[in-house]
Symmetry: C3
Subunit: 211 residues, 3 copies
């Protein structure tokens, strides 16, 4: 691992913990049992990367190679049960950690696809799947229409961050600079989107029937 | 690609556009944002083939090899937003394009499984997954019980078309004739099923509890 | 196949039939058509092993190698329609068969991961996915929050059975003894859990909002 990748991975661990903890709260809203909580934490934190790897045929999956990640994320989800009464006080901390996760996972996902020699579009898409799909899986398991498709800019942040990262690498910018630049941009973009409630326009179609 | 396959693929592109556009309308009914619309379009149009390839271990996936397909289907879904007011006038056009897609994707799916040397049952099943699974994924993401399991003959059309195609090839009928015959049969079958509301019998079980 | 594995596989077939039949009842509660019934039967009975294989990159999938399994499970689901009026009388039989399936699939799943040389944590997790994921897929297709996450000890039984099996093998206990011991323990544990309604504690979190 290059130094920049080590730092990314390290931040990625914090983000995984944060995603597992917010998933645990979603599980609690559905009155799931402790096993469901741990499981939803693992799926949410690790599902994006797993889906990317299954789509690209990139084996073994990260958590299969490093099973400790299951204990880390499942454990974080279970810990949330004990902390449930105070967790909401750290609302902003979670938002920031989640934003870090979005951006960091995006770049890690881009790296995986680049290392496999995929075309640039696929590199950006792989980043987006890594950053966003965990939350989609969480919402499917909670039988909710994925939040991703209906709330503040999230996937778009991932898309733009990935595109910036790919462009920087493509034009031969120093790697560390590209990483720092993309992370800083993506993080700022996401936090501003939350702060000012930037949303994608919605498509509302009322006509009934299959078409 | 053989000539018959080229023609199939060409019709398949139209069908992908049609599936992405009807998925966009489903997204609009769930008030998704523009990103969700594009995403649901891609998943619906490309999800069947992707699931087939993941189940068979057939890498790389089509859209990974041809990322333009993501732009085509995502773009078609977005275009639907602009056309939403008039789209319902083309209701029958969409039904026909969707029927073409069902049949064409089925045969493309059979071809993939045959080229991997799978037994005939799996060839037919691969065709069915390719033809039908995109719509199932769309319904899961919209948190609806898949329409496929509850409406006019759809999967059955795919099943019969695939079986016909497999049988024709198995008995050494001229390839072009098998393709044309299966497509014509499947298309007619599906359009008649819509016209006359042919449905599979339903299984209704009212008793509560886990069993 | 070793003798112990043959016996396991044989019991596994009964369990697949039982899982397909209970899935058929779930399909009937959603008023699915016959195709949906057959399909939900296949997915529930074979989905756990398929998901495990896709996550581990273990190809070909079992039902791709043995397509007869599709006919067996799909057929069992369809047969349930004819038997719907009397099926509930065999409620306890189904519970026992399902418990056998849980335990047997868990051990089969552990074997697959062991044969690929995965670390012990992954072996146990692979067993759990094999034993439990079919029911999760069934619930997702029925748009219900997975029962697994909310009811009597089920995944926990799988977890403990797998851990016991892995530990026995790890410490060099005679293979047949490990298989019999794990199956007997798991089965007893699950049946006691049903009998005495042992449940995991639930995590209930009422606070609204994304976090």
């Amino acid at each position: 691992m290059q130094p920049a990748e080590s730092v990314l991975f390290f931040f990625g661990l914090f983000a995984m913990v944060a995603e597992a903890m917010t998933a645990a709260l979603a599980a609690g809203r559905r009155k799931m049992d402790w096993f469901g909580v741990a499981m939803l934490g693992c799926v949410t934190a690790l599902g994006g990367g797993s889906l990317r790897d299954m789509l690209l045929g990139h084996y073994p999956l990260l958590w299969v190679k490093h099973p400790t990640l299951l204990l880390l994320t499942g454990g974080a989800a279970l810990l949330t049960i004990a902390l449930a009464r105070v967790v909401h006080r750290f609302h902003y901390l979670f938002l920031v950690l989640d934003a870090i996760g979005l951006v960091v996972f995006t770049i890690i996902g881009c790296n995986v696809a680049m290392s496999m020699g995929h075309p640039l579009t696929i590199v950006v898409v792989a980043g987006m799947i890594t950053g966003c799909a965990g939350g989609v899986l969480r919402d499917i398991l909670c039988t909710e229409v994925p939040l991703l498709f209906r709330s503040e800019l999230y996937a778009s942040v991932s898309l733009v961050t990935g595109a910036l990262y790919v462009a920087g690498n493509h034009f031969g910018v120093e790697h560390v600079a590209v990483v720092i630049g993309s992370v800083a941009f993506g993080l700022t973009f996401r936090l501003l989107a939350i702060r000012y409630k930037w949303e994608m326009p919605k498509f509302i179609y009322e006509r009934e029937g299959p078409h």
